[in-house]
């Protein structure tokens, strides 16, 4: 492949991973916007959803779409349950305390997954269903930009992610619950005084965020065709990085941050070294925060702990 083709290929690959980061980052940023908590268990929701979809699809034998839909509902329920059990009793206590609770939940879920499904990497699509695999890995050439190609699953990822993001911004902007969410992000106490059911709004935020994280988990599981208990760890860290990069609490910022992160990783992998790919995310984050301490689109700086 010639130079420009490699560049375009990496841009396409980076963009697809970027939208996945963006989907996870939205979950972090919405929760943070309202209750100022780094929901460390979010990466685990992403992982658990992929595993549930895997179980329903390759072991229980459900159709792929049905398995995915049920898994996403499960993700929402899991998110709401985590909030109810581990975060709600701690509302109002120092934020560091809630952070410890989040780390505890994350540890719990990681090891639960390891106990149920084992620590090794498993293919998402079992070998006997290789037609599906061939279908989603089908390669299409991209006209205009040399030899760069795009696969079916990459197209699906881009379309799904962008559609969901648009839907989400519509929900936040125009629906009643969306308005309640924005109100909560501004001032929790005042919102409660205005008669909004704050607990329900927060639960709803967790449900949406977790569902989006779950979608991301399934997309990545399809993309790499593998699922493993530690998959949520790095993805979660990077998505959180993306959220901070874009300015935490800001949904558009999270999307921008995710794409920026994915693309820079793709470029780093192609031109510097794939070994340092994981480090580049954090290096970019540090540089951006040094020059713009509230992130790219963020306006406010969070209160100290």
């Amino acid at each position: 492949m010639e130079g420009s083709s490699i560049l375009f290929q990496q841009l396409v690959n980076g963009l697809t991973i970027g939208v996945v980061y963006a989907l996870i980052a939205v979950g972090y940023t919405m929760v943070y916007g309202i209750i100022e908590l780094i929901n460390f268990a979010h990466g685990e929701v992403y992982m658990m959803t992929a595993f549930i979809a895997l179980t329903l699809y390759s072991i229980a034998g459900l159709p792929l779409i049905a398995a995915i839909l049920i898994a996403i509902i499960f993700a929402s329920l899991l998110g709401v349950t985590i909030e109810r059990v581990a975060y709600r009793p701690l509302r109002g206590s120092p934020r560091l305390i809630a952070l410890i609770s989040a780390i505890g939940v994350s540890l719990f879920l990681q090891n639960l997954a390891m106990k149920i499904w084992g620590a090794r990497r498993q293919p998402f699509i079992p070998p006997h269903k290789e037609i599906t695999l061939l279908n989603i890995k089908q390669t299409l050439s991209l006209p205009l930009i040399g030899e760069a190609t795009i696969t079916m699953i990459q197209i699906i990822m881009l379309i799904v992610a962008v559609t969901l993001m648009i839907l989400l911004s519509l929900v936040i902007k125009y629906t009643k619950v969306g308005r309640a969410m924005r109100a909560c992000a501004q001032d929790l106490t005042a919102t409660r005084l205005m008669g909004v059911d704050v607990n329900r709004t927060i639960a709803f935020t967790f449900a949406i965020g977790s569902a989006l994280g779950g979608v991301a988990g399934i997309l990545v599981a399809l993309y790499y065709n593998q699922v493993y208990p530690m998959m949520g760890y790095m993805a979660g860290l990077k998505a959180f990085t993306a959220a901070v990069l874009g300015g935490i609490g800001n949904v558009t910022g999270a999307f921008l941050g995710g794409i920026l992160l994915g693309v820079s990783e793709g470029l780093c992998g192609a031109y510097i070294s794939s070994l340092w790919m994981d480090a580049i995310a954090f290096a970019i984050l540090i540089i951006v925060l040094i020059y713009k301490p509230s992130g790219l689109l963020g306006e406010r700086t969070p209160r100290s702990t």
């Binding site: 560091l96 305390i97 540890l107 480090a279 702990t305």
Partner: protein, 362 residues
């Protein structure tokens, strides 16, 4: 019988139910410890430590009693496995105390503290294997190098606060780990560095021997810990320590009172990192092997939990928190597959029921 002991016993007598439950719990824990395989003498010494701490909590010579009990502990049993566990607990206590300087005193959230532990460990590992330097020099070098990295990390992040600071420290921690893993020429990459020589005094090695077992290491970490507690307590009560607490309580007010924010924050990083580096130097020689796997984000999170669950800012609290959490994986070893699952669950339950920690700062 000294007066305070009489008063203490009197106190205990007034609330028999409360103290009865306490003592029953301690006896239960002791029996549990022996059931999971800890040699009975060790468990008894731990029980004695707890009782002594309760009875003599007001006495000036409480530290001396604790030191005596800890010093005779390794001679009560021949078991080396649990001695290793105790030494590991010691390393974690040191780390938690160092992190407490940053989080507990100065109030800056740090999610990448383990990087300093790693930097200390790699410094010692490299200096002993390549230059065959004495471990004592390596210890000094590790402390200095870790402190320098603490300053290097602190300077660009002075403008940040709260969770932005947290995520940047997390980023630095991950970059440090990736450097250990990827800079193969220097660090040996994922294979790590092995055959690190143990410390020695006049040719007398501290390493494992038939006669001494791991006892010399045990005394070494005990001395290091003693120095750590001593220096940190003094720092806490010094002008610098009071400046840190002022920053934690209210940055703006502290600045108005003439506290130099940048200088004091940077010093907090340097001091916290220095303890991490010292613990790393000990870890490298005790483990005789370092690899990037020992310095993951998980470790940072665990040390953070030790500080928070023990009681942020409180030195005895942090020591207790670190002892409990560091010993947990060993104590729960009998249910090997479930232990981290339960560990996570216990973390959630602990913060829900005791959000200020086991022994909060007064």
């Amino acid at each position: 019988m000294p007066g305070f002991l009489i008063r203490r016993l009197d106190q205990l007598r007034k609330r028999p139910l409360f103290w009865g439950i306490w003592v029953a719990c301690l006896i239960g824990i002791t029996i549990f410890l022996t059931l999971v395989g800890m040699p009975i003498p060790y468990a008894l010494v731990i029980f004695a430590l707890a009782i002594v701490s309760i009875l003599f909590s007001r006495a000036k010579y409480l530290p001396i009693l604790i030191i005596i009990l800890l010093a005779i502990m390794p001679w009560t049993s021949q078991d080396q496995y649990w001695l290793r566990v105790l030494i590991t607990v010691g390393i974690y206590i040191m780390l938690a105390l160092g992190l407490n300087v940053i989080i507990g005193f100065t109030g800056m959230l740090d999610l990448g503290y383990i990087a300093f532990f790693g930097i200390g460990a790699y410094t010692t590992a490299l200096l002993t294997t390549h230059f065959h330097l004495s471990w004592w020099l390596c210890l000094l070098a590790s402390i200095v190098v870790a402190a320098i990295f603490g300053v290097l990390r602190g300077l660009p992040t002075l403008r940040l606060s709260g969770d932005y600071l947290a995520i940047v420290t997390l980023g630095f921690g991950e970059i440090a780990r990736m450097t250990f893993a990827n800079w193969v020429g220097l660090t040996g990459g994922p294979m790590g560095i092995r055959d690190i020589t143990p410390p020695s005094v006049f040719g007398f090695s501290f390493g494992f021997s038939a006669q001494w077992g791991y006892r010399l290491y045990y005394y070494l970490i005990l001395v290091l810990l003693g120095l750590t507690v001593l220096t940190i307590t003094n720092l806490r009560n010094s002008r610098l320590g009071r400046a840190w607490v002022a920053i934690r309580e209210d940055e703006t007010a502290a600045q108005t009172m003439g506290v130099n924010l940048s200088w004091n924050k940077t010093l907090a990083y340097a001091v916290g990192a220095a303890y991490g580096g010292a613990a790393g130097a000990f870890f490298a020689s005790f483990n005789m092997f370092v690899s990037p796997n020992s310095f993951t984000f998980f470790e940072s999170a665990i040390v953070l939990c030790m500080v928070v669950i023990g009681g942020i800012g409180s030195i005895p609290g942090v020591i207790i928190g670190a002892s409990i959490l560091a010993a947990f994986p060993e104590v729960l070893r009998f249910m090997s597959e479930y232990r981290y699952l339960i560990f996570g669950l216990i973390m959630v339950i602990m913060v829900i029921f005791k959000p200020r920690g086991i022994l909060p700062e007064r």
